[in-house]
């Protein structure tokens, strides 16, 4: 599904990631962990084409990400749902329209999707906030809205960058539960987090693998967590 082959990435002078080997199988559930600044966000961005590797090859759905033009990159993003660390929305549109935004911009008719949209809002627990504007949402509500937006096009892969970064424990459990449910529906899930307790909690529900970035490389962490 997503393959990184000998990938390196450097910002200006220093190398942030070097010779990364990574492979995500369809339907797998991965955590990506490591200290702050280790390159978790960078690695995720390489996976959905927001950044290009300095060397090595990133393949998503068997396509070389570097070879994609701007329109192909846009189409790739419709197949990979991303929950960004700083979930950004269109602040002038209500939550429900923001969640439907990927549908709108891909030119699909959203008029027939009302029921699905309501169902999705119920699933993330935002049914009552449907008409609120994004700035009126709490941190947890924003994260859930971002998750709903990332899955609206039914992507095959869901990438979440610190989805529980600024929410309380209860809310992070709820978000995790949603991601586990998506994985049970057959989606490939990759979550970057530095929250080890979240990873431990997940292991009770799903067979998750943990990748750790250390010394600029990605390693599969053992059962020690």
């Amino acid at each position: 599904m997503i393959e990184l082959d000998n990938v390196s990435y450097s910002y200006g002078g220093g190398e942030l990631l070097s010779n990364v080997q990574m492979q995500l199988e369809p339907g797998s559930f991965h955590f990506l962990t490591g200290p702050s600044g280790a390159g978790k966000t960078t690695l995720l961005k390489l996976c959905y084409g927001a950044l290009h590797s300095t060397s090595g090859r990133v393949r998503v759905f068997n396509m070389d990400v570097k070879g994609l033009d701007r329109d192909q990159t846009a189409n790739l993003r419709r197949r990979v749902g991303v929950v960004h660390q700083d979930c950004r929305f269109l602040d002038h549109l209500p939550v429900i329209e923001n969640i439907a935004l990927p549908l709108t911009v891909s030119g699909r008719d959203t008029t027939g999707e009302d029921d699905n949209l309501r169902e999705l809002l119920n699933w993330v627990g935002l049914a009552e906030r449907a008409d609120a504007l994004p700035p009126e949402l709490s941190g947890g509500e924003r994260q859930r809205a971002a998750l709903a937006r990332s899955v609206i096009l039914s992507p095959e892969v869901i990438i979440a960058d610190e989805p529980t970064g600024n929410v309380d424990w209860e809310m992070s459990q709820r978000l995790l539960q949603l991601l586990v449910e998506l994985n049970r529906m057959g989606k490939t899930v990759l979550i970057a987090t530095h929250d080890l307790s979240l990873i431990r909690a997940a292991k009770n529900h799903v067979q998750a693998r943990v990748l750790r970035i250390s010394n600029r490389a990605v390693q599969l962490a053992g059962a020690s967590l």
Partner: protein, 299 residues
């Protein structure tokens, strides 16, 4: 651009339009600028059309008419006039030749001498009005023949008057055309600036749209549509006001000279109607280019 895209530009996609927040004040500015520019274009167009018309009219009217002046002692004047008229009537290309009567000459001179000056007492030369037919005559040959047979005759074919007048009218027309081009360029520049400002102000919106998988064309379209429609409506109202202004100007009259008759004539009233379409085209191209450039800076 396909027909479908043009149609989409005008009918629009309500949802696509909503993804970019409404811009309020800058929208009014774009409307105002394109309106003002269209208003000015109407006048520049009227000016260049009228001066073109003037140049043509002066050129043809003055070219067809000539004046023969006979300055001879009083006792020979009638004979020389007679001889000159005979020569003129024999010259191919001369449609008519007519000696002006005393009253007519007095009327011509009245602005300078008043009506009761008693022109009979003055040695006023006899004037003969010569009208050429459409083929024209050989002015130089005629002059030579007249010099030989009518010593007091001087042929004035108005070239001395005509050339600077026609030249002036032609440069006025050129000035009008240059003004229209400059106005078009200035409109393009201002819409580019406005579009760039709008794109910069909505940078975050554009980034969010890119992240959720919007194509560049989709994002650009939202901006291009707005600016094109604003330029179109702004220019349409500017043209309407400009045309009313031109229509209210006094009609051509002899008293007003070349300052009147600046309006449009017959089918040329349709020409200003092209201005809003051209303004929309200019806005379309300017915004498309600005949007493409901005989008390429984003991942």
């Amino acid at each position: 651009m396909s027909e479908g895209r043009i149609r989409k530009l005008f009918t629009g996609d309500a949802q696509a339009d909503r993804v970019v927040p409404p811009s309020g004040f800058t929208a009014q500015l774009t409307l105002f600028v394109s309106g003002a520019m269209a208003f000015l274009t109407v006048f520049a167009l009227a000016l260049s059309l009228a001066s073109g018309r003037l140049a043509d009219r002066w050129a043809s009217e003055l070219a067809r008419a000539a004046t023969l002046r006979i300055s001879a002692p009083a006792d020979q004047r009638a004979a020389q006039t007679e001889a000159a008229l005979t020569i003129l009537n024999q010259t191919p290309g001369v449609a008519s030749a007519r000696a002006l009567s005393v009253e007519e000459q007095a009327a011509l001179l009245s602005p300078w001498f008043g009506t009761d000056a008693g022109l009979e007492a003055l040695p006023v030369p006899q004037l003969i009005e010569v009208q050429a037919d459409s083929t024209g005559y050989d002015a130089r040959g005629l002059q030579l023949r007249l010099t030989a047979e009518v010593p007091g005759a001087v042929l004035d074919d108005h070239a001395r008057w005509r050339e600077p007048l026609v030249e002036a009218a032609q440069s006025l027309r050129l000035l009008g055309i240059v003004s229209i081009l400059l106005i078009g360029g200035a409109t393009a520049a201002m819409i580019t600036l406005a579009a760039n400002a709008a794109l910069a102000a909505n940078r975050q919106v554009i980034e969010v749209l890119r992240l959720v998988g919007a194509l560049d064309s989709y994002i650009a379209h939202a901006f291009v549509r707005r600016f094109t429609l604003r330029a179109l409506t702004g220019a349409a109202s500017g043209v309407a006001l400009g045309m009313i202004g031109v229509w209210l100007m006094p009609a051509a009259s002899d008293e007003g000279g070349f300052l009147t008759g600046l309006g449009f004539q017959s089918w040329r009233w349709l020409l200003p109607l092209a201005i809003p379409l051209l303004a929309a085209l200019v806005a379309f191209i300017a915004t498309t280019r600005a949007a493409r450039k901005r989008l390429e800076e984003l991942s």
